[in-house]
Symmetry: C2
Amino acid sequence: MSQISKNRNATINDVARMASVSSATVSRVINRTAVVNPQTLEKVQKAIVALHYVPSSAAQSLAGKKNNTIGLIVPGISEVFFVPLLRGIEMAAALAGYNLLIHTTHFQHQNQGYKTLGDHNTDGLLVFSDSLNHEELHYLTQSNFPCVLIYQNPPDDIPLPSINIDNKNGARQIVEHLIQVHQRRNIVFLRGPQNTHDSIQREQGYRQALQQNGLPYDEQLIARGDFLFEVAADSIRNLIHKGIEFDAVFSADDGSAFGAFAALKETGVCVPEDVSLVGFDDVYFAAHFSPPLTTVQAPTEAVGKLAVETLIQRMNGKEVQQNILLPTRLMLRHSCGCKQ
Amino acid sequence: MSQISKNRNATINDVARMASVSSATVSRVINRTAVVNPQTLEKVQKAIVALHYVPSSAAQSLAGKKNNTIGLIVPGISEVFFVPLLRGIEMAAALAGYNLLIHTTHFQHQNQGYKTLGDHNTDGLLVFSDSLNHEELHYLTQSNFPCVLIYQNPPDDIPLPSINIDNKNGARQIVEHLIQVHQRRNIVFLRGPQNTHDSIQREQGYRQALQQNGLPYDEQLIARGDFLFEVAADSIRNLIHKGIEFDAVFSADDGSAFGAFAALKETGVCVPEDVSLVGFDDVYFAAHFSPPLTTVQAPTEAVGKLAVETLIQRMNGKEVQQNILLPTRLMLRHSCGCKQ
DNA sequence: CTGAAAGCGCTTACAG
DNA sequence: CTGAAAGCGCTTACAG
């Protein structure tokens, strides 16, 4: 059926032969890397189609010294949060003609993760949150390999560009809303995982809102949420059990807000009548929750897109803004006490 | 600092030179492809570490004729559903030492998608649902390139292995539960997208349950859900508006069940008192919904894992079971009327 | 157990 | 506008 044997794909030389030109010329038409005589061009294109020729990525990479691939290192493929991020990354990478190679560290730093992905198989790396430790980042950086951090700031001694969202402002705004609009005074904060950049920033926003509105910071109102449904639920149960009074809950992410709601509900506490409940992220579903969850919208897909664009600029040797902060948006729904 | 110049990575020849051996020997220790004298081994390993040597993937691929990469073709990165699938695929691929390259067709068949990923950059392909059309599948298959289909059956003339879940049985069971345990008689079915394998199978299960329990199939009770929140909500509103009576809703997926719930709620219909509501998938959140959603658990992560394992067997030239059907599990919660 | 050498399929100066 | 040829960094018979 086809002009080539079943067990061997057409190579650039097969195309060259069929079109009666050199492989250099074929290469030029494929890559549009030089002007080619229109008639030659046509002959080559016909041969490519006839032979179903697809260039070997490996050979292109080896000879061309570029991989046409962007690497993404993530600690793990967590639930909902991951989807818009990946979508943003995938679309931007595809648009720019890059493949996407994903590596998951599974939360283990074996000083190996950065070897799976590197300049031997990618042209640049997107590093999500805590997937790489200081040493690994250092190694990557000193060799001048293009990297962009997502959802984390670079260590002081490693000047890497990073894309973050404005956690602090977002948190401050939503807490301020609870205070100013709904007259809440005893606002629980359900922390994210220890040492997470996002969680720390959100806590700072929380404290800032209290301070700027003349409310005391009460350590009793701070509890673990860990971005997890069950952990948050337990914390709320525990607060209630200890008899600590509160009229609002700010969860460091939506998932833990849902957990807080479950605990509140089972204790007979009404949201938002008795307690205002707000989260962070605006994940799929926050708007569909009952009651619809007031939260801070994180532009996660935009972060992914911008991360890719920034990385590509770096790959092209351009200067980029060091730390980009994307604005968040307050999504007022019903769980805070606003009417829908 | 390092023994090699800033702008050039160590190659196998640098390692060979430092260890005073040939590159063939270095290759052998890297790939454990032949027994090497223990002392030689040690010298080589030391050189590898000293030079931070990482083999070039491109060169390995080109010379070794394998890419150590599995490709995944998906139509798009949809919401929640995608996460456990990807997690299963990623973990199984990593375990087997394969990289994962993702390509999204963005629902466009330009007869190009199968070229982005192919034997020029992967060793095998995972093809999700409708991401490739018949012609594309045919092209892939005739060249004998290892492929495994996920969530779709192969066309009759293309004998490709596929991994599916037992949609029909799962649907039949949950509808039967509504009929037998909750005495429901007028059960709405909210279809998935047209021509989707999953949706068709689930509808068959629905019909089978009706039939086996002596209930008539009433076309008025069938409406669009499209696996989408809003579409499902609109359908329910429409049914109510038309005055069509029903005492249960079986949504073809959880997302549309949530939409159905919203429409029911706004009309003052109580779930599960007035209407039993059930879904399919058991996505993140179904258990945390109010009321907790009764649904069919799809072993999505297991599908991803098994797909990779099957693909790897094919890549190794082994025979594999042609069509694998993974069992689903009925998750009885509160939205059907069962007490929690 | 080890090395010399060919070859994988491209790209890219260089020369014309 | 086009071609001959070197080279990218590996792997793998082949020979010893």
